[in-house]
């Protein structure tokens, strides 16, 4: 049913056809199921001590729980951005805009961190 209607939609929206890809319900359904699945995984992982790894050269330690939690959250974000927000099927301009937003956010976090790490860590 959705395939036939998708064809109908494409014929009606002819001027949009090359640019305006219409994402179908089956894609949305699989994405939402994946998102719910990842939510379950991240809750489950928070109950388990995933330990840590020391990096001997730098004296830094990686704690795996927050790394895993953030990795799962980033995966969910990528799924929402690509499919629910249609970025996978969007123009180069849109893709560039999204990536530049990500870059600016990383600059926000990274540059603020360099300030604290280099001189004022914990002194509050």
């Amino acid at each position: 049913m959705s395939a036939a209607n998708a064809n109908q939609g494409h014929e009606q929206d002819h001027e949009h056809d090359s640019e305006h890809h219409i994402v179908g319900p089956m894609v949305y359904l699989s994405i939402v199921l994946a998102l719910l699945f990842f939510t379950g995984i991240t809750v489950w992982a928070s109950y388990i001590d995933l330990g840590e790894t020391r990096l001997f050269n730098t004296g830094l330690t990686i704690f795996w729980n927050p790394v895993v939690a953030l990795a799962i959250a980033c995966t969910k974000m990528v799924l929402v951005v690509l499919f629910f927000m249609h970025v996978k099927y969007s123009t180069k301009l849109t893709k560039l805009t999204v990536l530049s937003g990500l870059f600016t956010f990383i600059a926000l976090i990274g540059m603020t961190l360099t300030d604290y790490v280099s001189r004022a860590w914990g002194r509050w």
Binding site: E15, E19, I22
Partner: protein, 253 residues
């Protein structure tokens, strides 16, 4: 581009960018519906990027405070009910699904389906706010409102809170670390409060859209408003996708 005296009988080779040949919802400063759609889409994304920076500041504060006062953040996070948090996450993810289906219905020009999915999204948004209000009122009762009604007794003496203690068996925090739990709750209310404000604004616009959708505003080919609102709604969902593990799932073992 062309003034009103130009007739519609232009050269056959030109595309549909002619006065008198464009759909009524195409504004005159655009050459085509596609350009109009792409332009408004780009503008919406720029707005969303400003929102990313806005929330980014709060996430940066969280990053620092959690790393500096980790034990306080762990114990304070145990005061949040993981059941309600997970339920809220499921509610928002489902509302993103219904919103995406709404956009699809608008693109397919199916008014009934569009209204149905917008109403579902509306209800799920309200459900999210309802669960949030349950959580917030519990914070008020337990004296966990920073600056206004706050007590660290649940953290200097965890056994005074039997419900939480029997699940996590937290160690008592020394007073200076216990005072940092107020920082955690400040971030909790700042971040979820800003998020809830965005939800309220989104739900209000949804109400407007449901009314307009019933009057065929979005099912004649002009899906831009619905699609761009969808972007906003998915963005609010993404913010919660990050808030949930950071606030609720710090360490539950």
């Amino acid at each position: 581009m062309s003034d009103s005296t130009v007739t519609a009988q232009e050269t056959a080779g030109s595309a549909q960018a002619h006065h008198g040949e464009h759909p009524p919802y195409q504004r005159h400063h655009f050459e085509s519906v596609e350009q109009q759609f792409d332009t408004t889409n780009f503008a919406m994304w720029l707005f969303l990027l400003t929102e990313v920076m806005f929330f980014g500041g709060l996430f940066m504060a969280y990053l620092l405070m959690r790393n500096w006062y980790y034990p306080a953040f762990v114990e304070a996070s145990h005061q949040l009910n993981i059941g309600w948090g997970t339920a809220n996450t499921a509610v928002l993810i489902s509302s993103s699904f219904t919103m995406a289906m709404g956009v699809y219905s608008a693109e397919m020009r199916r008014k009934g389906a569009l209204v149905f999915f917008l109403v579902l999204t509306f209800i799920l948004g309200l459900a999210f706010l309802g669960i949030k209000s349950i959580e917030y009122s519990e914070k008020w009762e337990k004296f966990h409102i920073p600056g206004i009604r706050y007590s660290t007794s649940a953290f200097t003496n965890p056994q005074s809170d039997p419900e939480v203690y029997k699940e996590y068996h937290d160690k008592p925090l020394p007073p200076d670390m216990a005072s940092k739990t107020e920082l955690y709750f400040f971030l909790y209310f700042a971040m979820t409060g800003m998020h809830a404000l965005h939800m309220i604004i989104g739900i209000a616009i949804l109400g407007f859209m449901i009314f307009r959708a019933k009057n065929d505003a979005y099912t004649t080919g002009h899906v831009t408003f619905v699609e761009n609102f969808g972007l906003y709604w998915h963005f609010v969902d993404i913010i919660w996708i990050f808030l949930f593990p950071l606030l609720y799932l710090i360490s539950r073992y």
